[in-house]
């Protein structure tokens, strides 16, 4: 049950991230003007409405507001409470909070997926090097992984972001991935070493299986669950780190919409609930879903 709920929420976040432009934008999805039927016309908002003509029509996204550009349409309303026009109110620059929340899912999903992918690649590479490398190097390599993994991820990311100065999503994902990759390597290397010594692997070797075949057919499938758990934990760490870094002013550069940036705005503006509650809930539910997937008992397999 918990696993299904977690997967459903993550699917919703992934859908919001992939279809953000179709869910929250001031560009119509499709419009019929004098020039004919147009998919995603370039004209926005009132400019398109003026062109539609008597027989024209347009299908708008559910939230017809741009998450980044401020379009006043006759009046700039900053920090407005939720209303029929802005269902989750506006932020301190008059931008629609619901639109920024949906596009913030894209930032969090990209950061989580990027960090998880990088950490998995790094962890698997290191684990293979440790598991298959010379035995005398195994203990020092694991000690180095232990030391890197024991460093608090948030502190590492904060310090490295400050020292390197890059604040792009890829740089942030890489900063989060390095300590988590070391942790992944530690977990996977332990499992890989145990699998390579398992009786069925020894039997496969005895039957003449090559080292590559033993690795691909027997050892690697056994470590996929550990890799999946580590990837889910990394993605959850990335979502929480993004919230903390954006709050501290070291997150993705403005005007990138993100959940952490909405939380930071809430602190600056007397904790307006429409800035704090939706973004906080979204980050909490996403991280909780990822933790729940990581902590759920493994399904029976092979």
């Amino acid at each position: 049950m918990t696993r299904r709920l977690a997967l459903a929420w993550l699917a919703l976040v992934a859908f919001a991230a992939l279809a953000a432009e179709l869910l929250a934008s001031d560009r119509a999805i499709v419009a019929r003007t004098d020039a004919g039927l147009t998919w995603r016309p370039a004209a926005r908002g009132d400019a398109l409405r003026a062109r539609l003509g008597p027989d024209g029509w347009a299908v708008w996204p559910p939230i017809a507001a741009d998450p980044i550009a401020v379009r006043t349409d006759g009046g700039l309303v900053i920090l407005a409470a939720p209303s029929a026009r802005h269902r989750l109110g506006t932020d301190d620059r008059g931008r629609d909070v619901a639109a920024r929340l949906i596009h913030g899912a894209r930032t969090s999903a990209a950061l989580g997926a990027g960090a998880a992918g990088l950490a998995t690649l790094l962890g698997l590479g290191l684990a293979l090097a440790i598991g298959l490398g010379p035995g005398r190097l195994r203990a020092p390599a694991l000690a180095v992984c232990d030391a890197i993994a024991s460093a608090p991820a948030l502190l590492v990311t904060l310090v490295a972001a400050a020292l390197v100065g890059h604040r792009g999503l890829i740089a942030l994902a890489a900063l989060i991935a390095v300590p988590r990759g070391a942790d992944t390597a530690r977990l996977v290397a332990a499992q890989l070493t145990a699998e390579l010594a398992a009786p069925y692997v020894v039997a496969a070797r005895g039957l003449g299986a090559s080292p590559a075949r033993v690795l691909v057919r027997h050892a690697l499938p056994a470590v996929w669950p550990a890799l999946a758990i580590a990837a889910a934990l990394t993605a959850a760490t990335a979502v929480l780190s993004e919230a903390a870094l954006s709050f501290l002013g070291l997150g993705p550069p403005p005007p990138t919409p993100s959940w952490g940036e909405l939380l930071a705005q809430a602190t600056q503006h007397d904790l307006r609930w429409w800035l704090s509650v939706p973004a906080g809930l979204a980050a909490t539910l996403t991280a909780a879903a990822l933790f729940a997937l990581a902590l759920a008992p493994p399904r029976a397999s092979r």
């Binding site: 918990t2 030391a147 024991s150 460093a151 608090p152 991820a153 948030l154 502190l155 904060l158 310090v159 490295a160 972001a161 400050a162 020292l163 390197v164 100065g165 890059h166 959850a236 929480l240 919230a243 903390a244 709050f247 501290l248 002013g249 070291l250 952490g260 939380l263 930071a264 809430a266 602190t267 904790l271 704090s276 973004a279 906080g280 980050a283 909490t284 539910l285 996403t286 991280a287 909780a288 990822l290 933790f291 729940a292 902590l295």
Partner: protein, 301 residues
């Protein structure tokens, strides 16, 4: 090597390694350290000034902070001096980085240690209290998964909304720092209790007439302690890092705010001093708790 010497070596290694990796990142940054130092100290002339004037200002800052020479030589010099406690001066105000870092460190460390004590107490007590109830372990695991997932900044906002008085701010800060580590401890203790309850030892103790309460409080807790002890180091690490968020969200003084201010200004000496001190503290707590984890009987847990 004695235990104290091993502990000292561990702390020194954490301190030096942080400086080595951190200064390597400073050298890898797109802007040169001298340019970043000039910018942090506000010594760059305006953008419209002649390039020669900017170059002169950067060269002067490089001489003042000993940032001249090649990158490898600079890296070796600064990390070697940091290893023996000769820290560079702050790029913002020219004062010693150690003094700037230590100014409010006491409050942060006190909050981190208070959060550690609360996290361990709550994280151990709650699974023990619900262990005898049907579905209690699952409830604790679910609550812990949610508690770990709440962003610290949102916890602080909720705390301010619920208890807006200034007198409660410090208590809110400690509580916000303790919630996630307490959840992690509770998860570990809950899992260990569930495994121990099925062990032959549990059956033997019950056969000798001990109550379930006594089994949990006396026997199981002693076996679980070595498993929980190593979590103290990661808890201290988390609370020190999250301290930056909590102090900023609740407007409290502390090393976390100093770290964020230094990070925003690009003041690498202060950032690295604070990071190295945090790494050394984590290594110290890790070394001390490793003694507990390594005691006889730990393997059984």
């Amino acid at each position: 090597m004695t235990t104290a010497a091993r502990l000292a070596a561990r702390v020194l290694a954490a301190w030096v390694a942080t400086w080595m990796i951190g200064w390597a990142l400073v050298e890898l940054a797109p802007a040169s350290p001298a340019l970043t130092a000039a910018r942090a100290g506000g010594r760059l002339p305006p953008d419209e000034a002649a390039p020669a004037a900017r170059d002169r200002a950067v060269a002067a800052v490089a001489r003042a902070h000993r940032l001249d020479g090649s990158a490898p030589a600079r890296w070796a010099r600064i990390t070697a001096r940091a290893a023996i406690g000769q820290l560079p001066r702050s790029w913002r105000d020219d004062r010693g980085a150690g003094g700037a870092a230590a100014r409010h460190a006491g409050a942060t460390v006190a909050r981190a240690l208070a959060a550690l004590v609360i996290a361990l107490a709550v994280g151990v007590a709650v699974p023990l209290a619900v262990a005898r109830r049907r579905g209690g372990a699952a409830a604790v695991a679910g609550a812990a998964a949610v508690a770990v997932a709440v962003p610290t900044v949102w916890l602080c906002q909720l705390a301010v909304a619920v208890a807006p008085t200034a007198a409660l701010t410090s208590a809110c800060a400690v509580a916000a720092l303790a919630i996630a580590p307490a959840a992690v401890v509770a998860l570990h203790v809950g899992a260990a209790l569930a495994a121990l309850d099925r062990s032959p030892l549990a059956i033997a103790v019950a056969a000798r007439g001990a109550s379930r309460r006594r089994w949990h409080a006396v026997h199981a807790l002693a076996l679980i302690a070595p498993r929980v002890a190593p979590l103290a180091a990661s808890t201290v690490g988390f609370t020190l890092a999250a301290g930056a968020v909590v102090e900023r969200a609740l407007a409290l003084p502390g090393a976390g705010r100093t770290l964020v201010a230094a990070a925003a200004a690009g003041d690498a000496p202060v950032v690295l001093t604070l990071a190295a001190a945090a790494a050394a503290l984590v290594a110290l707590v890790g070394g001390l708790t490793a003694r507990v984890a390594a005691r006889p009987g730990a393997e059984a847990a």
